[in-house]
Amino acid sequence: MEQLFVHTVQLAGWMDGLLGYQTHVVAGTRVFGTSDFNVEISDACLGYQGASLVLLLLGAYILMQRRQLKFPLALVVLPCAAMAVWLLNSVRIAALIIIGTEWSPGIAQQGFHSAAGWVNVIVVSMLAIWVLGYTALFTRTPSRGGLAFDDQAITLLPQVVLLGLSFLTLLGTAEFDWLYPVRVLVTGVVLVWFWRRFALGELDLRLLPVGMGVLVFVIWIGMLPNDPAVSRQFALMLFSAPVWLVATWMVCRVIGAGIVVPLVEELAFRGFLLELVESRAGQVLAGQTSRRVVSVALTSLAFGLLHGAWLAGVIAGVGFALARLWRGRVMDAVVAHAVTNLLLAGYVLWMGYWSYW
């Protein structure tokens, strides 16, 4: 592990040196950085977990695709991917030092430190799978026409964009999520751009979805009490900014919670995934009711896991799924979700319970 540390900081230091930053390792320690900003690099920050994960993913992919792949050439991708993760990890450390020195120690130590490793793993995994599965060098059935969106799975696009943006904006985040408006704006543009392909239908307000939204809101605040310490800290950071920035952030936060996020999440979970799981469950389960139960349970579990408060998220997912199944319209689930989020936004703004955000 010591050798890995030495090579990692040598490479990171060399890259920083190219950009004019003098770095050093404090003798007898693992503290690395410039004279203005330094960090202690633990074993966990050396990139070997990321490389292990990528090897695991690619190993599984190669195993499943063994009939299509050319051997032993395909195996060459494994060490290349592991090396790419290690190189990108050195880039991450070099960038972290520059960000901490030039811009913000908070962003370097928090958002960037946290998100950059995951970005590395995601990028290397997807690139390696693309190289293995789609190029003539490694596969016997290369793609001749390039890539395209699946007609049904296109409804996942806003969710994928939002998730990707979450990682990218986290790279530039310290204590407070000031870049939230960027996520709302870009995801909103994607929603508008692809709107016709989502085929959501018209907004037709009925009592049941609205009532379901109210019920989920009551359950949510019942299960998750306000955290006064978190709310205090949140308010302190939010209101330390200029008035125009606070106002812009709040407007975007309400639009995001009340319109963008319900559309994004319902298209993905109650739109695409619910139907996918139900059709797959149909291969092993005969009754429609049992298929419905399985599909609602699994998609609600996935929905809950994507949220910090997983149990409340699962219950909310079940509520929105019931709204969707009532008339078979995803828009009803969107309405229920929007009602919940708008009530929660009003509750936050009225009571000052910022910990819900």
Binding site: W118, G133, A148, D150, A153, L156, E175
Partner: protein, 53 residues
């Protein structure tokens, strides 16, 4: 091919989730559901993109 991608997406989910057990200690203030978000992103891409025929 699409089915394979879906299996890859599912395996990715499991692998990243298991991998989190030995990953770096998260930053408690902001990490939240980051691990699940990472796997959801990989799974979403796997489900969404297909090869043009």
């Amino acid at each position: 091919m699409k089915n394979v991608l879906r299996v890859v997406a599912a395996v990715s989910v499991l692998a990243v989730y298991c991998g989190s057990a030995f990953a770096a200690p998260p930053v408690p203030e902001i990490d939240g559901a980051l691990i699940v978000q990472a796997l959801a992103l990989v799974a979403g891409l796997g489900l969404m993109i297909k090869r043009r025929k």
